[in-house]
């Protein structure tokens, strides 16, 4: 029996050893195709910054003592009037000794233009915006001992818009007794209550042309024996336009640029847009600015039956922070928003067909009302990237 058992076991084992071929694999036909679709998610950037961290004050952009942000534009010698502008200088010796004066003398202020170089930007902007409280300061010096009334004109002009005038009434310059104080310096403030300056600034003007006239009344009001009009008489005035960032806005900025997606990958790169199934950017923002931003990006084919090929929207990229009755955001008050910008496979497939990308930014102040911008406003943000790839390669 034992031998029989041994034989049986042996035969069974031989049978098992010769076994069964379950599958045949012809490795000569091994396919080299590989498909991988890993998903990567990570926080890419973060930040907690104030406006003063982002933008340093300059001559043009300043922060006042309350941290209110202001734009300042300065033009020197806008008003530059000498006696020769009022009177034929050759006749000057005849002026001396005349106690009665020489009547009214009129001079013209030569036009002086300030160009703000915003033509390119303004052509892309539409919507409603209003600058609330701009001002112009005329810093002048006057060495004429007579009453001088200045009519200062400022015309703001912009492409395709009706020019807007300053509408400032004539104003008198300070003057002094030439014997005691040969020259006097003073300032004239032009603001929303005495002019149409807000309308002018809110165009906004691509350029402002200053001009005007001055009327000098040469009556000898000081009762002197002789008049003191000399060849040294001079009115010199510098203009400083100050625009505090106090405004309301609901506008769109639209620009069409070359399709930068198409240049993202070199043709020789191992990767291209076909290797991405989707790409998502998640923005989490705590916005301490009273301004909101939305973004839309459109792939555009301008050559072949022009049409949109794909759109990516970020409707609440930033939500504006709430403001108080003065238009200011209180300390540590934020508007929270979380936005995903998703680029789909269909979008990627359209990249090569598009020659242009249309960018549409919508900017608005809180409730489209008037707000003020302070340099200590803070924004906290982080952005995560979620990439789902769709890699297909052939290793053979």
């Amino acid at each position: 029996m034992t031998r029989k058992a041994a034989y049986i076991i042996f035969i069974v084992m031989v049978f098992l050893f010769t076994g069964c071929i379950k599958d045949t694999y012809d490795m000569n036909k091994l396919s080299g195709k590989v498909h991988l679709s890993p998903s990567l998610a990570f926080r890419a950037i973060s930040g907690d910054i104030t406006l003063s961290d982002m933008v340093k004050p300059t001559d043009t952009l300043i922060y006042d003592q309350y941290n209110l942000v202001k734009l300042v534009f300065r033009q020197d010698s806008v008003v530059d009037l000498a006696i020769s502008d009022f009177w034929d200088i050759d006749g000057f010796p005849a002026l001396k000794g005349n106690k009665k004066g020489f009547g009214q003398l009129v001079a013209t202020i030569d036009p002086e233009t300030m160009n703000f170089e915003i033509e390119d930007i303004m052509s892309n902007i539409s919507g409603v915006y209003a600058i609330i409280n701009p001002s112009i300061r005329l810093y002048y010096s006057n060495s004429f001992p007579f009453t001088v009334k200045l009519k200062l004109d400022a015309i703001g002009s912009s492409t395709d818009k009706i020019p807007v005038s300053l509408d400032r009434d004539t104003f008198a310059l300070s003057f002094t007794n030439a014997q005691d104080q040969p020259i006097i310096k003073d300032t004239i403030l032009i603001h929303k209550d005495n002019s149409s300056l807000p309308d002018l600034i809110s165009m906004p003007p691509e350029e402002i042309t200053f001009s005007g006239s001055a009327i000098m009344d040469t009556a000898n009001i000081f009762g002197l024996d002789e008049n003191y009009m000399t060849t040294n008489g001079h009115i010199l005035g510098d203009i400083e336009i100050e625009i505090p960032l106090e405004f309301s806005m609901n506008m769109q900025f639209t620009d069409t640029i070359d399709n930068f997606f198409a240049d993202a990958f070199d043709p020789d790169d191992d990767f291209n847009w076909d290797d991405f199934e989707s790409f998502e950017m998640v923005f989490n923002v705590e916005n301490g600015f009273p301004m909101g931003i939305s973004l839309s990006m459109v792939l555009y084919d301008s050559i072949n039956t022009p049409h949109n090929l794909g759109t990516v929207d970020a409707e609440h990229l930033l939500d504006p922070a709430p403001v108080d009755g003065e238009g200011k955001v209180a300390t540590d008050v934020f508007a929270s928003s979380s936005t995903s910008i998703v680029f789909t496979h269909e979008f990627f497939n359209s990249i090569e067909s598009a020659d242009q990308v249309i960018l549409i930014f919508t900017l608005n102040t809180t409730d489209n009302e008037v707000v003020k911008i302070y340099s200590d406003y803070r924004i906290k943000f982080n952005a995560a990237l979620i990439l789902k790839s769709d890699i297909n390669v052939n290793l053979k």
Partner: protein
């Protein structure tokens, strides 16, 4: 204690066979020959490879839409199906043992003395399932949870074992054997993982924490830079340019250890025997060519803080470099040369056999292998035939590795003084034919367990002799 679903097989078939090598599993066991000599390498080569996660057919498969062979990465194949085969802990255990010398002889009526010198290479690697998912699918699926890599560990030892043992009947039913071993460590490395993981929060911030020790005994030199980061690891091959250098390395005399095997058999009756053994209880103290690396800390990545880029004080490149430096510096890698100890993975064997006849028996064997905190278990049932010295065979069925198709076979036969044997705890029943260029090879369909032991012994004598006494008186 972690119960790992991996094979714990250790030539279970050998246990009930009439081979001198069975004392390796239980020092109380002895063969029927009176004397055996094991010759270098010829007498015993043992190969074990166990893994609990992947087979050939998991990696390569026939295409559905064409006659081509595709890999698991082919577009036709779902990567999720491949990843479903991985466990939370995936183990790979390669083991090779070569007998350099063996000697066993009977002393007196029932004592048996044995000596063997074995060269052993053992590895044990545990790979977390999350690691594979991270590698093939990225981290997107882990947002809001943790990539748990705490089970990542590895251990590799190359050592020489010189054992001297002895077994004897203490009663007419009880036999006890013991073998003491001196161990010589030649090279070793171990990764001790106290914690390792990456937490990905809902806001996509990552927190990496690690507390790991790597101990190495090998001719390596780790160069550190001024920031205490690993700059390079160089293998000192000049050690092997002289005979003395080679001898010093392979002698292992600076890395010594001790081990013990204890076993017993008990005859409950003429037909029923039970046995038990504790094997490979031992350690090696590694003192030579030591490198200890310890990494411990936590690193949080919450994105590049671009405030400095916005205010112009830094560039993006500088930020990126700072982040990488931060990552490197956050983990303190200390490089020391302190001796360390590794323990052998010991085994607990419980067996029973029932002899249907003098030469035919049925057996049951439980083998538990404890590797650190891991317990690996297998259960074997066998039918065994031992025809004296001439022929021994065993057919076994083993449950292990969450697999129930492990059919094993042992064959040994002895023409003259030469005893040839071949054992496999798992006979591949199903095979795959692999054609490549001009050749065809056959591979088992299942790679979870490869266990082979083969060799040739010189055996002399037969202590079990039939009595040929004739009766003194015949009755007609």
């Amino acid at each position: 204690m972690i119960i790992a679903s991996a094979s714990a097989q250790n030539s279970q078939v050998l246990y009930n066979m009439n081979l001198p090598q069975n004392h390796l599993l239980n020092p109380a066991l002895r063969p029927s020959n009176s004397l055996y000599i094991g010759l270098p390498a010829i007498s015993g080569i043992n190969l074990n490879i166990n893994n609990n996660f992947v087979n050939f057919s998991d990696v390569f498969m026939n295409g559905e839409t064409s006659d081509s062979i595709i890999t698991f990465l082919h577009p036709e194949n779902e990567i999720d199906d491949f990843l479903a085969k991985f466990k939370s802990k995936n183990s790979l255990e390669p083991q090779v043992s070569v007998q350099l010398f063996g000697l066993g002889f009977s002393v007196g009526k029932d004592s048996y003395v044995f000596l063997d010198i074995n060269e052993r290479v053992e590895g044990n690697f545990v790979l977390p399932g999350d690691l594979f998912e991270l590698a093939f699918k990225g981290n997107g699926g882990f947002v809001g949870s943790k990539i748990d890599l705490s089970s990542l560990r590895g251990d590799m030892k190359y050592y020489r074992e010189i054992g001297l043992g002895f077994s004897k009947n203490f009663t007419n039913k009880l036999r006890i054997g013991v073998k003491g071993k001196v161990l010589f460590g030649i090279a070793g490395a171990s990764i001790d993982n106290n914690s390792f993981g990456i937490t990905i929060n809902d806001d996509y911030t990552h927190i990496l924490n690690a507390d790991m020790d790597v101990n190495i005994s090998a001719p390596l030199t780790v160069h550190m830079d001024t920031d205490q980061n690993i700059d390079s690891i160089v293998f000192d091959d000049s050690r092997f340019e002289s005979g003395k250098g080679i001898f010093d390395f392979f002698s292992g005399k600076k890395n010594m250890g001790l081990g013990i095997d204890i076993g017993a058999t008990y005859d409950i009756s003429d037909k029923i025997m039970v046995s038990a053994a504790l094997t490979d209880i031992g350690f090696i103290r590694w003192k030579k060519d030591i490198t200890n690396l310890k990494a411990e800390n936590q690193f949080e990545f919450s994105g590049l803080n671009i405030a400095d880029v916005i205010d112009g004080t830094k560039t993006f490149d500088e930020l990126g470099e700072e982040m990488l430096d931060s990552l490197q510096n956050s983990f303190i890698v200390s490089n020391s040369n302190d001796p360390f100890t590794t323990w052998l993975p010991f085994g607990v064997t419980l067996g029973g056999s029932y002899s249907l006849t003098k030469n035919f028996s049925l057996g049951i064997l439980s083998y538990s292998r404890i590797i650190g905190k891991q317990l690996r278990e297998s259960l074997t049932m066998s039918a065994n035939v031992n025809l004296g010295n001439a022929f021994s065979t065993s057919l076994s069925y083993t449950m292990a590795n969450h697999r129930y198709d492990n059919l094993g076979l042992g064959l040994a036969f002895r023409p003259g003084i030469f005893q040839f044997y071949f054992l496999a705890d798992k006979i591949p029943i199903m095979w795959n034919s692999i054609k490549s260029e001009n050749s065809t090879i056959f591979l088992p369909t299942s790679w979870n367990t490869i266990n082979l032991r083969l060799g040739m012994n010189l055996t002399f004598g037969n202590r079990i002799k039939k009595k040929d006494d004739k009766p003194m008186v015949t009755v007609e």
